[in-house]
């Protein structure tokens, strides 16, 4: 399985995606710094505590990498079907389920890693920014940092699986556009926030969506051996 994943990453030159993901992280940091400065002027609500700041960062990061995952799905899975290169792949003496599972695992692990790393990077970056700009008064306590970290990891786990939901819409017509558009809808669902309250903070929502993502992945490979690859 590891070898199949390596081959996938080689085939699609994962390096360029890693670079893009890093750039996205930097942009998010810039955005956060900008918003927090303006919000401060406006006496707005979100950036009153580290807790809230990390919540906003996590939401932004999550939204970004869900869309990112859908781009990966569209390249790794949907495009293979669209360009018919899947016929090449399915003529190898390898279980088709494993081939697709390897692709999806690449997407899931990429999203998981990107989500956590970007959260840490932007979080630390914001902390440093705050030392100079003093957006949030008072020091960052260990307990806040620890709880935030735990939340980030849990939320990243859920995010990595729910980012597979767009696969369902993409596979229906082998359309990359449908994949990305549906990912935007997912983002709209899990990243909205009203006065600091988000649907995502109800614990059942992220877990339910993550399970849905896993189910979509399972559905896509369940029958793959018994169907015609291309009509």
């Amino acid at each position: 399985m590891l070898k199949l994943m390596k081959l996938e990453m080689r085939k699609f030159r994962i390096g360029s995606y890693i670079r893009a993901a890093m750039i996205a992280g930097v942009v998010i940091l810039g955005l956060i710094c900008l918003i927090s400065s303006i919000e401060e002027i406006k006496q707005g609500i979100p950036f009153t505590s580290y807790d809230m700041a990390f919540f906003v960062i996590d939401t932004l990061v999550r939204g970004t990498y869900i869309v990112f995952a859908s781009v990966l799905i569209s390249r790794l899975v949907i495009d293979e079907f669209r360009n018919k290169s899947i016929t090449v792949l399915f003529m190898y003496p390898i279980n088709r389920k494993k081939l697709i599972a390897a692709k999806l695992l690449v997407v899931v692990l990429f999203t998981l890693a990107a989500d956590i790393v970007a959260n840490l990077f932007v979080g630390v970056g914001f902390y440093v920014f705050n030392l100079f700009a003093s957006v949030i008064p008072g020091p960052l306590t260990w307990s806040v940092a620890a709880t935030s970290l735990l939340k980030i990891v849990m939320s990243a786990l859920a995010t990595s699986f729910l980012s597979l939901i767009p696969l369902y819409f993409g596979m229906r017509n082998h359309s990359g556009v449908a994949t990305i558009v549906s990912s935007l809808i997912v983002v709209a669902l899990v990243c909205q926030s009203v006065d600091g309250f988000s649907l995502y903070s109800i614990i059942a929502v992220p877990i339910g969506l993550a399970l849905l993502g896993a189910a979509v992945a399972y559905m896509s490979i369940r029958n793959i051996e018994h169907i015609d690859v291309l009509k």
Partner: protein, 307 residues
């Protein structure tokens, strides 16, 4: 002789319409098996079913002596294929494509890539993306990919599409060489009779999803014998002379009054001499060979055999 591929009553239907019906193929080890038929005859669909890309509606396929099921992956490792247009990862170079191929096939002999590229005569492609290739080059690369892993069975669907006449000859020689020297069994399809005729050991004629005839080239060679055709106005008199003085019985007169003599044991000048002696006016004499084309056209048209 053992069979590499056998199909029994192989059928595939799309929305109730059969595109392949009850095909029974028997491909022997080491032979070049040519599938001949017009576009849409079902050749590609049969090949897709053999490689598992399309599932049969009915019937079964046996490859390397084992029945092909939905999860027969091992057999795929012993085949090399090009189906329809060769497909590659266009954003990678030719070599990267072949490297990925050998990795997936679990074939670890780095030299084989160079050998295959040399065999198909593909040069100066280093650093070039497949995207920039012409159809002919892709076709060559496809064949290179199919033979890199030294398969036992090579499945080639219209492999000469997009190639120039010189390239066609080159590849024809290559296929023959692979078959003779490496003992690779080749299943090849084409709608061009001349191509199949030149390389196949066995020909399967398909039309409308049906396999009309599976026949060895040796057998065809026997059927399509030489004959002498005589054009004359006095055909009945000529036949009389031939039968009574030369004792030739294998004679036929066609609608236009031409006489065909299938007994070639009597030299042509002897024939002429006797006919002239008996005052038969001859307009023309030709020595002809029954063409394969006649033979296959008659099969395709649902008729019997020529001659």
């Amino acid at each position: 002789m053992t069979h590499i591929v056998r199909t029994k009553q192989l059928t595939r239907a799309y929305r109730g319409k059969e595109v392949v019906s009850n095909v029974n193929m028997n491909i022997k080890q080491g032979e070049i098996y040519g599938m001949l038929g017009p576009n849409g005859a079902g050749k590609t669909t049969v090949m897709k079913m053999i490689t598992g890309l399309v599932k049969p509606t009915a019937g079964e396929i046996e490859i390397f002596g084992e029945r092909l099921t939905d999860t027969s992956y091992r057999q795929l490792g012993r085949m090399g294929t090009i189906i329809e247009n060769p497909i590659f990862y266009e954003k990678l170079t030719a070599r990267e494509n072949l490297e990925l191929h050998t990795e997936y096939m679990g074939y670890h002999n780095k030299k084989s890539i160079d050998e295959a590229l040399e065999l198909v005569n593909l040069k100066g492609i280093d650093g070039k993306l497949v995207k920039e290739f012409s159809l002919g080059m892709k076709q060559r690369l496809g064949i290179a990919r199919a033979i890199t892993t030294k398969p036992e069975l090579l499945i080639l669907d219209e492999p000469i599409n997009g190639l120039d006449p010189l390239g066609i000859k080159e590849l024809r020689d290559l296929f023959k060489m692979l078959s003779k020297q490496y003992g690779i069994t080749i299943l090849i399809s084409s709608h061009i009779l001349g191509e199949i005729e030149l390389i196949a050991d066995t020909i399967a004629v398909m039309n409308d999803g049906k396999l009309l005839q599976e026949v060895s080239m040796e057998h065809i060679a026997k059927l399509t014998t030489e004959y002498i055709e005589i054009t004359t106005n006095e055909s009945s008199k000529a036949v009389y002379v031939l039968e009574n003085y030369l004792h030739i019985t294998n004679v036929r007169v066609n609608d236009e009054g031409q006489i065909r003599i299938y007994d070639c044991s009597i030299p042509q000048n002897e024939l002429m001499k006797v006919l002239v002696m008996h005052d038969v006016a001859i307009e023309a004499v030709h020595k002809k060979k029954g063409s394969l084309e006649d033979y296959f056209l008659s099969i395709l048209n649902g008729g019997g055999l020529v001659a």
